[in-house]
Amino acid sequence: MKKNLLKLVLRRFLISCLMIFLLIVAVFFMMHLLPGEPFQQYYSPRLGNELAEQIKSKFGFDRPVSVQLLKWMRNILSGDFGFSIVYQKPVIVLISESIIVTLSISLSSFILQILLTIPSGLFLLKHAGKKIDFIIDKLALIIYSAPSFVVAIVLIYFGSILTNLFPSSQLFSYNYYEMTTTQKFFDLMHHLILPILTLTITSMSFSIRYLRQNLIEASNQDFVVALRASGIPENILRKNHILPNALISYITILGLEIGSLLSKTLITEMVFSLPGIGRLMVDSIFSRDYPVIVACVMISSLMVIFGNLIADLLISRFNPKSSYELVS
């Protein structure tokens, strides 16, 4: 069994490495095949041809493609994504600044989602077939169908414009730098409540329905019926037998969600104008800041590959039956 698991881990890891390699190559060729050189903005067309050639050779554009590719790969693997044209800063600095914001929203909503979904799934199982179950299920379907920006707008309208409880945008207040540390913390929290709520509501609408379905499926399994017939109280049955079985598939979904931690906040960041990675990317698209765009796409895709790896490992850990299928 353990050997099998090790084989799977190794295999998945190698495939992920291959994917990362392919990703880097694909992005490189995309930048070179598309019309307009990505680094054209460094030199004006009014400059003489010689000077342009000089600048080109400084960036290494006169060398053969294979050399350029190798250099590009070495740079990216060492975390050097180049220099932002607009912000005049190394891209890696920009990214690391914005990743903190993005991760702080998405991780906290991720944890909140887990904390809220499991009890509510149990609640729904307890009331399965009743009116409240039906209502919550359909409500979750409606919210699941709503794009995150619609949810965000509704939250802003009721939480910020009508009642004036929460700020509708920005990361901190205008007098942030004059505050003490605890005040700073509460100010940040105050600003982050609506974005975190948005993300939590949108992701919960999916996970609640998913967990509910799995719980109902698990509660109809033969062993549960047998245990129920043998007189074990429903309460214990739910906690000790149905929930762990239903959680297996929920955990694999969580693994996939880890992969989308960086990419799912894109629209939420734009709505609340938070300086996260999604906003950095959209802003740099409007200002044609190619190195930043490429770095953003790379990092969020790496995160997805990483998340898929974690999901596979979780599947093989909790559901050994399907790990055989993954290996074969």
């Binding site: 995309m30 169908s145 707008i153 509704v154 698209i285 997805v304």
Partner: protein
């Protein structure tokens, strides 16, 4: 009990469709007249809007006929066996499937007939008066007499239908005064004096028309209802075409990797994994950042960002189908491979692909509206739901209806496809 409920939904749905066609009956007649005149005239060069209009007229006529027949049958006045059988079949399927089917059908009908059932979502002349009106607000107007002289035949109908000639002559006002032969029109703080001969009159009194904006207006004084209808139209148009592209691409790759197997399978599946590692929205944004954006580019981008799911499903389903006994038996019996694929594997695996396609449709609508909301998708003069919600978001503190109503429309579009897919899934699962 259940069937009774469904029958009520059915009847109300078709009576609503009938109502939709009846309130546009004058436009339909004008459309028929236009088509007839076009037919007998020599020139056949049609603009895109004219083609849209003709198609919408035909759809509305068909809708009129069909919904009357359906209503007659469901009230037991007329007896047509095949429609009764259809209704009975509808009643045997689950509620989610039924409501999703009806909603999706309704959305598609709205998007097909948008040029007839709504006004052109363009500017209204008086921004000062029609700007940011809440839903159900009523605005009065008088109409200037046609100074350019009357037109004849095709030209007149064309002017009436496509060039909004009458709308340009409208004068919206908040208050009106009459002084002998002069008419003083108040527009908030502005005043305009017009001679009575300049506007349409009956018995020497100006005719005052009124227009109700059912969904209010936006910050440029445009009618929100027609903008939302056109937005739904564009969203569904992009969604359908993108899903079609991803269906073609994905099913070819998925079936070939499932049926051929071996090295081809491994390679194609790694390709699928590779494309799956890009988040859809990021892939679309990445392409748009380099190539620029237009509606057709968006369709292609969304088409190529969704094929992986379909390929995966097609592969898994076809492999599972190949392992089943009857296919194995057919292979042993010496049936030709092409016949097995077309007659047994494709029909048996199509249901799950259809479900994925419908889910994909709602995904594309979400992604498209998200991109338009960011300002990266379809550009502003063209109304899409994402654009409208964005303009509503900018005016959220003074006009809630813009983003709320268009948001409800967007949710309805997405939910209709989600319900349909989920219902289909349950339907086939039970089978």
């Amino acid at each position: 009990m259940k069937s009774k409920k469904l029958r009520i939904i059915f009847i109300s749905y078709f009576s609503f469709l009938l109502f939709l066609t009846v309130i546009n009956i004058n436009k339909i007649f004008a459309g028929i007249n236009f088509i007839y005149l076009l037919f007998i005239s020599v020139s056949f060069r049609l603009s895109l809007r004219e083609i849209d209009f003709i198609q919408a007229t035909f759809v509305l006529i068909a809708l009129f006929v069909l919904s009357t027949i359906f209503l007659l049958v469901s009230f037991n006045i007329l007896r047509l066996k095949f429609i009764e059988r259809l209704i009975n079949k509808m009643e045997s399927i689950n509620l989610e499937y039924f409501s999703g089917l009806i909603l999706a059908f309704f959305m598609i009908i709205i998007s097909l007939t948008a040029p007839v059932i709504s006004d052109e979502p363009s500017f209204y002349k008086d921004v000062a008066i029609t700007k940011l009106l809440p839903p159900f607000s009523k605005v009065n107007y008088v109409v200037r007499t046609n100074l350019k002289g009357s037109f004849t035949g095709l030209e007149e109908i064309k002017k009436k239908l496509f060039e909004n000639e009458e709308k340009e002559r409208r004068i919206y006002f908040t208050k009106i005064e009459f002084k002998d032969t002069l008419v003083i029109v108040h527009k908030n703080k502005l005043k305009e004096t017009i001679h009575i001969k300049e506007i349409e009159t009956v018995n020497n009194k100006p005719v005052i028309y009124s227009k109700i904006f059912f969904a209010g207006t936006d910050e440029f004084g445009r009618d929100m209802l027609s903008r939302i209808i056109h937005g739904v139209r564009i969203s569904i148009f992009i969604g359908l075409l993108a899903v079609f592209i991803s269906f073609l691409f994905g099913s070819v790759i998925g079936y070939s990797s499932g049926i051929i197997g071996g090295v081809v399978d491994v390679l194609l599946m790694r390709l699928v994994d590779f494309f799956l590692s890009f988040p859809i929205l990021f892939l679309a944004i990445f392409l748009i950042a380099f190539v620029g954006n237009s509606i057709f580019l968006l369709i292609i981008v969304f088409g190529f960002s969704g094929w992986m799911y379909i390929a995966r499903i097609a592969r898994n389903e076809s492999i599972a189908c190949m392992k089943r006994e009857f296919v194995q038996m057919l292979i042993l019996a010496g049936q030709s491979k092409i016949k097995i694929i077309t007659k047994h594997i494709l029909p048996n695996t199509f249901s799950s692909i259809l479900i994925t396609l419908i889910f994909q449709m709602s995904n594309v609508v979400i992604a498209e509206s998200g991109l338009s909301f960011l300002g990266l998708g379809v550009q502003p003069p063209t109304p899409t739901l994402g654009n409208i919600i964005k303009s509503g978001y900018e005016n959220l503190s003074i006009a809630w209806w813009i983003s709320f109503l268009s948001g409800i429309a967007l949710i309805t579009v997405i939910i209709s496809f989600n319900l349909l897919a989920e219902g289909l899934k349950n339907y086939y699962h039970k089978k």
